[in-house]
């Protein structure tokens, strides 16, 4: 796919911002879940989607994966893979929330750890969570599309490259 030169010049910094943003989100979401495994087990169970046998393994694996992705994103290591995994997780979260909403469950998503509190208006929460995760999904897809970013291990190790000249179309910043 061809991209305008003006965008190509900015994209590596945009990708860096997305990486650090998503990395921070995964720390904020993964750490409380990781340190409260029992609460996470209950949150996963509340969605009534994962069979009981797999509830515990799932609840233990999810925050670990989130923290690992946080490390990859912040370091900028394997950005395309991390972006793809992030996108897959977001699709899964959006699906889970949509299912809870559709089946009329009144649950707190537990996205940033189990709160253990009741929610007065679950639908408002579902809308907010879905919009938020969709924004994260869009960011993750940008990383899959153009993983080259500044301040990244990928660039230092030569794992990603800036777009080649043949991929650029000459549109200036004024045309954007």
């Amino acid at each position: 796919m061809q991209i305008p030169i003006a965008l190509a010049a900015r994209l590596p910094w945009v990708a860096t911002a997305i990486r650090l943003g998503l990395g921070w989100v995964f720390v904020a979401a993964g750490w409380p879940k990781f340190t409260d495994p029992e609460g996470t087990v209950r949150s996963v169970r509340a969605f009534q989607l994962v069979p009981e046998t797999f509830v515990r393994p799932f609840a233990y694996a999810l925050p670990t994966l989130e923290l690992v992705l946080a490390v990859l994103l912040v370091l900028g290591l394997l950005t395309r893979l991390a972006g793809g995994a992030t996108a897959a997780l977001m699709v899964m979260f959006i699906f889970g929330i949509a299912m809870a909403w559709g089946r009329g469950l009144s649950i707190d998503c537990g996205c940033f750890g189990a709160t253990g509190t009741t929610v007065a208006d679950p639908v408002a929460g579902y809308i907010k969570d879905t919009l938020r995760d969709s924004a994260f999904l869009a960011g993750a897809l940008v990383l899959v599309w153009r993983p080259f970013s500044r301040l990244s291990l990928d660039a230092m190790l030569g794992l990603t490259h800036p777009p080649r000249a043949t991929e650029l179309v000459p549109i200036g910043a004024g045309d954007l």
């Binding site: 409380p32 340190t35 409260d36 495994p37 029992e38 609460g39 087990v41 209950r42 169970r45 509340a46 009534q48 009981e52 515990r56 393994p57 233990y60 694996a61 670990t64 994966l65 690992v68 990859l72 290591l77 394997l78 893979l81 009144s106 649950i107 707190d108 750890g113 189990a114 253990g116 509190t117 009741t118 929610v119 007065a120 679950p122 190790l157 030569g158 794992l159």
Partner: protein, 251 residues
């Protein structure tokens, strides 16, 4: 002229081949690094899952070893006449402010039904607010220790814990305070102190909390009257809702 062009072409070809070899080498290296990092990630996630599943199994074993507290009725703490027609099952967390509000709004009415023999209460302590502090587990375990020693002391202990509920997110009441309240509720210090200090029933509380979640309950207080959860989902039942349910159950 012809010779020079040929020479240049050869040079270009050589450069092209070199560039191609470099690209291949870089691709090979990047695939190697990707595979290595992906393997490390898989190992880390699998290790955490295995360790935590094992530790959970270990906890369940320890809980079984200590056993449930004595004097359980229907898996909880009975207050009232066992033959009362209406059965109120209360799932509460001693750290939960909404439970405290529920107790303040309904405690007197519930005590009156119990005194009149209209209803009995089965208290199920659960620990869902352990995230910041282990107070939920410590207090529920202490309540189990109280019931284990003397079920008649439970209600007074329960009321003391709600009246003096610590702020959420703090470190909770110290064990010495829990022991003091158990003594105020009528127990001998020597009897109750070791069980509270050792959190003898913490494992049992964990199992209770897991059961609570497996029943599909997600918040406290959860109020069940004669097998039916009352109140709108995710909202605390109002005194009117509790009254209506208990009166219907007592008929």
């Amino acid at each position: 002229m012809t010779n020079a062009r040929t020479a240049k072409t050869t040079r270009e070809k050589a450069a092209e081949l070199r560039a191609q070899a470099e690209r291949q080498e870089s691709r090979r290296r990047s695939m190697l690094i990707t595979a290595a990092v992906a393997a490390v990630i898989l190992i880390v996630v699998a290790a955490v899952v295995l360790v935590r599943v094992a530790s959970n199994d270990q906890k369940a074993k320890e809980a079984a070893l200590n056993g449930p507290p004595a004097n359980l009725v229907s898996g909880g703490f009975l207050v009232g006449n066992p033959s009362a027609k209406a059965t109120i099952e209360l799932y509460e967390d001693f750290q939960c402010p909404v439970c405290k509000a529920f107790e303040a709004a309904n405690g007197a009415a519930i005590k009156a039904w119990v005194a009149a023999g209209t209803a009995k209460v089965i208290y199920h302590p659960v620990a869902i607010l352990d995230a910041d502090t282990k107070y939920s587990t410590r207090s529920a375990s202490a309540a189990a220790a109280v019931v284990n020693a003397d079920p008649k002391a439970f209600l007074a202990f329960h009321d003391l814990l709600y009246t003096n509920q610590p702020a959420e997110g703090g470190s909770g009441l110290p064990d010495s305070q829990l022991i003091d309240y158990a003594v105020q509720a009528g127990l001998a210090k020597a009897t109750i102190e070791p069980a509270i200090t050792a959190q003898k029933f913490a494992g049992w509380v964990g199992l209770q909390t897991d059961d609570f979640s497996k029943k599909g309950f997600t918040g406290t207080p959860t109020v069940v009257v004669n097998g039916k959860q009352i109140g709108k989902p995710q909202s605390t039942p109002t005194p009117e809702e509790v009254k209506a349910a208990v009166e219907a159950a007592a008929k």
